[in-house]
Symmetry: C2
């Protein structure tokens, strides 16, 4: 493993993974339960969602809170670091939205 060569390099490592951008986006509006996230992020499986959430949690981007009740309840929310990351992602989302048509067109597969 080499050291990160620039901030972008580090950031790309954090948000890398098929579902991470969508998780971050979904949590933008506040805490969500596991099941809510699964329904919100169409196409994701339970295994992948948990895996990506755990990775974000270990990076201190996402906070996980367990409510000891039955049926179980677990809430996921953005940490301060996660919120600042989301802020930094806004211009990128805007860029993607502005060029959505051409990006869809040049997409492979």
């Amino acid at each position: 493993m080499r050291a990160y060569t620039c901030g972008l390099d580090a950031a790309a490592d954090v948000i890398g993974g098929k579902w991470k951008p969508r998780i971050l986006w979904a949590l933008h509006h506040g805490p969500m339960r596991f099941g809510e996230l699964r329904r919100e992020i169409s196409g994701v499986t339970e295994k992948m969602l948990i895996q990506q959430l755990r990775e974000l949690e270990s990076r201190d981007i996402v906070h996980r809170e367990v409510f000891h009740q039955v049926p179980p309840k677990v809430e996921y929310s953005l940490t301060e670091l996660g919120r600042s990351l989301n802020e930094a992602l806004i211009p990128l989302d805007t860029w993607g939205s502005e060029h959505l048509t051409e990006l869809e067109a040049s997409r492979v597969r």
Copy 2:
């Protein structure tokens, strides 16, 4: 293949790939020859560099210009779209730089 669910989704698809962020960053200061890029981006192999450049070219992020001379000369530069993408990446780079220490610390492997 599903349609992009948001701009961020689309943008992540464009910059996805092990070397794309570093390529974009290297081209920030102007056109570069293939060999210059290879030397600038330490660790990349010729095959991977070409592959990623071709993908960026097909997305109209990077422009490829061949100079018919010997030895061959090929210059890569950012298109207008590429420049706007780079602008949108600046906040993300800043975020990464600001949190570099903690990100290095929570890194796996």
